[in-house]
Amino acid sequence: MTPNQYVKAITRHVTCSKAKKKEIKLQLLSDMNASLEGGEVLENIISRMGKPADIAREFNENLSEEELMKYQKSKRFRFFGVIAVILIIILFLASILLWLMPWASGTHSSASQTEIDTKTEEVITLLNENDFDTLSNLSTKEMVPYLTKDYIDKARNGISDNWGEYKSLGKIYSQEILQKGKHYTVVQVNASYENISVTYTITFDQDMNLAGLYMK
């Protein structure tokens, strides 16, 4: 055991402020080194001084009440400091989790499945009726330039030039997604026409405005 290890073993158990602990450490080391300089061997010095736990107990018995209070205060401060850090980490992780999870965010779409179904059916009906004015009113401003009969017909013709009469709508599937910090609801639904079955992928923003349309 080196003098440093021996002194550390003592100060570890002394209940006082950090500054006082440092002072005790320096003084004990100084004493031991002075004895070593005087020719005393380390084993003798350690044997003369006693067991680290006994020396620490003696210090604790004799240190002032004020020093003990300082120690308890710093212990409390450390305890609450650790609790505060843990809380901050938990809050930080929770806020990240909230931000990542669409269902938990305050800015996500609060649309119910019924509202999503109704909106989807409304969009499909307006498309089938070629009522682009009404559809534009239900869309984001970025979508408006594309909601014209010419544009939509081009898209329709890309799939088939003869869809036939509209028949029915299949099951509506929806999923909320987060994109560039914004929440969207993406809906996928199959619509049956007389001659073809079309899959619509419709995107709504958090205010349930039409924000995207794709068909195949």
């Binding site: 320096l26 080391l29 004493d31 002075a34 004799n62 240190l63 002032s64 020093e67």
Partner: protein
């Protein structure tokens, strides 16, 4: 020495340690281990102090401004030492404590030297 005696010895010694440390520092500044050695030698082994007892006394006396300390600058291979010296306030306190001690000692002597009467 039995446990009971050890307890009384410790209590009695504890009461005079402040005075003895101040007395040893009255003539010259000293470092911790030097005080431990001198207390042992000058008391013929009555006051064998451990570091855990002496240092808290020194810290308390310093807090009360009865003594002051400074670390020595090491010369050559010599290690730095913390030297304690008595202040004017400490000298005045020593004088008062010594007067009190003499009074207590005198009172104790009077009681202890009184022959036992039946």
């Amino acid at each position: 020495m039995n446990v009971q005696n050890e307890k009384y010895e410790r209590q009695m010694k504890k009461g005079v340690l402040d005075m003895l440390v101040l007395k040893l520092l009255e003539s010259d500044e000293k470092y911790g281990y030097q005080l431990i050695s001198e207390l042992n030698e000058k008391s013929d082994g009555v006051f064998i102090l451990k570091e855990g007892t002496l240092y808290p006394i020194l810290y308390r006396l310093e807090d009360e401004a009865f003594i002051e300390s400074n670390w020595s600058l090491p010369e050559g291979k010599q290690v730095s030492r913390k030297y304690y010296s008595i202040t004017a306030k400490g000298k005045a306190a020593l004088e008062q404590i010594a007067t009190t001690w003499n009074s207590i000692q005198s009172g104790i002597d009077k009681i202890m030297e009184t022959p036992v009467t039946k």
